[in-house]
């Protein structure tokens, strides 16, 4: 059995300094902001969204970027935000991307 996805926008990497696992969300916004999902013990969900880049741009786009990231995770996992764990997000990064489809029409 394999998990597959039509929307492969999450990449997993290790922080070179802290060696923590970081999930990069490749959003479709045409702005140079890096959206990262990291594990935390500071909230009940166990993860948080970090945005890296120009402070002014982050300030302007933060609300939309946050909503877009949450919507993406909820849609893929078919779970409400409060029920999504960091393990769920890691699982999504392991899905195989569907590259093509054999269509009859």
């Amino acid at each position: 059995m394999i998990r597959c996805t039509f929307s492969d926008a999450l990449k997993i990497k290790e922080d070179p300094v802290t060696r923590d696992i970081v999930v990069i969300y490749e959003h479709g916004f045409r702005i140079n902001i890096n959206v990262q999902i990291v594990e935390t013990d500071q909230n009940q969900m166990g993860w948080r969204i970090n945005m890296l880049g120009n402070n002014e741009v982050i300030k302007a786009a933060k609300k939309e970027l946050f909503a877009n990231t949450v919507h993406y995770l909820e849609k893929r996992l078919r779970k409400a935000l409060g029920r999504i764990s960091f393990e769920d997000i890691i699982l999504l990064t392991q899905a195989k991307a569907i590259k093509s489809v054999s269509r009859s029409d």
């Binding site: 059995m1 998990r3 597959c4 039509f6 569907i98």
Partner: protein, 135 residues
Amino acid sequence: MQLRAIMDSSSNNIKTIMDTDTIYDAAELIFTAGAASVLIINKAKKSVGIITEQEVVQAIKTYKQKILELKTTHIMNIDLLACTPNEEVEEAVRVMSEYKIRNLPIITEGGNLAGFIDINAVARAQLSNIIHKWG
């Protein structure tokens, strides 16, 4: 027996519908074409998700006449559980029963969605295995 062997005898023609179409349109396509699943594509002809017969039935129950307005993207699946053509029928049986899937997507190693295997094809293959073994 590998899943590849029953793919030909199973329904693996994939029907498509636009992401701007409604759930009602998807229901009509599923019921008129006898398709088990419908692939959702966008304006750029890129596949963005899938709706199965079960989800359409569930949407009719949940949203009632709103299915005339709600878009296919509202209920589509972005992620799928699938098997490869090289996997055994027993694995398909396990996945289908554990996750309650009636139409199992088949994905090649290269990431091509090759089709679906329905529960009837899997049952027929299992029965044929039993007859071959004991008959």
